[in-house]
């Protein structure tokens, strides 16, 4: 069964939502995907998606334009994400964690591909030793112990290496998008 709902519920930009159910069905996947990209796991993505809709829907007056509804959903998602980072990891409300949350059509395939391309490009720019350990962990799905065996290192050495590799990747990414 397609999550995309049937043709009758497809809504185009420039139109309005007359009922909350259409608003929800038309945007839940996009909101979930954007949140998942920023928390990296399903349980958190589901919780935060729930928070976004529980907060935003009661405050939206129908009918509302598609554009306005999406803007409000994304603004709510930004707040929910910021709170998540603050309460879970004591992160400051810094802008860099919230970038890229924008209004856009749901299920934009370009969004998905960009993420994959950028990730691979970032890996490619790392020095060999950093790239190898992250490729084993991320692309080959090796555990830290398996990566240690493959690389001929201790597990704690792998942890040091992957931590440094991630910090180097962070620096490289920061240069791209200051």
């Amino acid at each position: 069964m397609s999550l995309r709902a049937n043709r009758a519920l497809e809504v185009l930009e420039g139109m309005t939502y007359g009922d909350w159910e259409t608003l929800y069905r038309d945007n839940v996947v996009a909101v979930y995907r954007r949140l998942h990209a920023r928390v990296g796991n399903r349980p958190d993505a589901e919780d935060l998606t729930t928070d976004v809709f529980l907060r935003a829907l009661p405050r939206l007056r129908l009918p509302t334009s598609v554009r306005a509804a999406r803007a409000y959903l994304m603004a709510t998602a930004k707040t929910v994400l910021a709170e998540h980072w603050r309460t879970s990891y004591s992160a400051p409300p810094a802008a860099e964690f919230l970038d890229g949350l924008d209004v856009g059509p749901p299920d934009d395939p370009a969004d998905v591909h960009r993420g994959e391309e950028r990730a691979r490009a970032l890996l490619a720019r790392l020095p060999d030793n950093f790239r190898r350990v992250l490729e084993l962990r991320f692309l080959r799905g090796y555990s830290a112990a398996e990566a240690a065996a493959e690389l001929g290192l201790s597990v704690s050495h792998v942890r040091v290496l992957q931590y440094r590799a991630l910090r180097r990747a962070a620096t490289l990414a920061e240069e791209d998008e200051p």
Partner: protein, 219 residues
């Protein structure tokens, strides 16, 4: 005492299993490493397939209950349930408000709700409150209950810490939420709930008694 390498190691292990990562107090360098891990995650072949259809349906059903008020008692509108300051106080109770209006300080068991620029507002006469009773008050921007225990008085927020519905005094030392049947004791502790996570206890207002009148520090 764990090191950044082991904390990030666990974070990465959790992420790669699609599990909810454990919470911890992260330093700046660790946050950067975590962000980098999130950027690299999409490199794995096969993009995130989108939400579980069962989750989408569950959330849709829950929203239907919330928005169409199936659990609401007859005669109460949703606006009344949220209250004039419902959302604000609920956010404050969760510690999410960061503007100048409200400062929340979490004391061990009973968080305090202390407005940055509030004043002492009379809310009830001591003579009108029986021992063990909770009397509702509304200052216009804040809602709560004044509670008498012997000859001591305190005040708790009337805003459910789950989603901001206004609590009702349910007799026998209980405050109950009309939205999800969460029940609090008169000093704000959660007694019973049916929620996936235990909501926080109700915050207290600063309270004093002057000349037979109970006052709360509020806006």
């Amino acid at each position: 005492m764990t090191s950044p390498e082991s904390r990030i190691g666990r974070y990465l292990d959790d992420l790669l299993r699609n599990a909810r990562p454990r919470r911890f107090k992260a330093r700046r360098e660790e946050l950067e490493a975590m962000q980098a891990a999130l950027r690299i995650l999409p490199a794995r072949a096969g993009a995130e397939p989108g939400p579980d259809p069962a989750f989408v349906d569950r959330l849709g059903r829950r929203l239907r209950v919330d928005l169409e008020g199936e659990t609401v008692s007859a005669g109460l509108s949703r606006r009344r349930l949220l209250g004039s300051a419902g959302a604000l106080a609920a956010a404050a109770a969760a510690g999410a408000v960061t503007d100048n209006l409200l400062i929340t300080r979490e004391v061990q068991q009973s968080p305090e709700l202390v407005p940055a620029s509030g004043s002492w507002i009379p809310v009830a006469r001591t003579s009108s409150i029986r021992d063990g009773e909770a009397v509702p008050f509304n200052t216009g921007s804040m809602e709560g209950f004044v509670v008498r225990t012997g000859d001591r008085y305190h005040a708790v927020s009337a805003v459910c810490t789950h989603q901001g519905c206004i609590l009702q005094a349910a007799g026998q030392g209980r405050l109950s939420c009309p939205c999800h049947r969460t029940t609090f004791s008169l000093d704000g502790a959660v007694v019973v709930h049916q929620l996936p996570q235990t909501p926080p206890p109700l915050p207290h207002f600063r309270t004093r008694v002057t000349g037979g009148v109970v006052e709360v520090f509020a806006v």
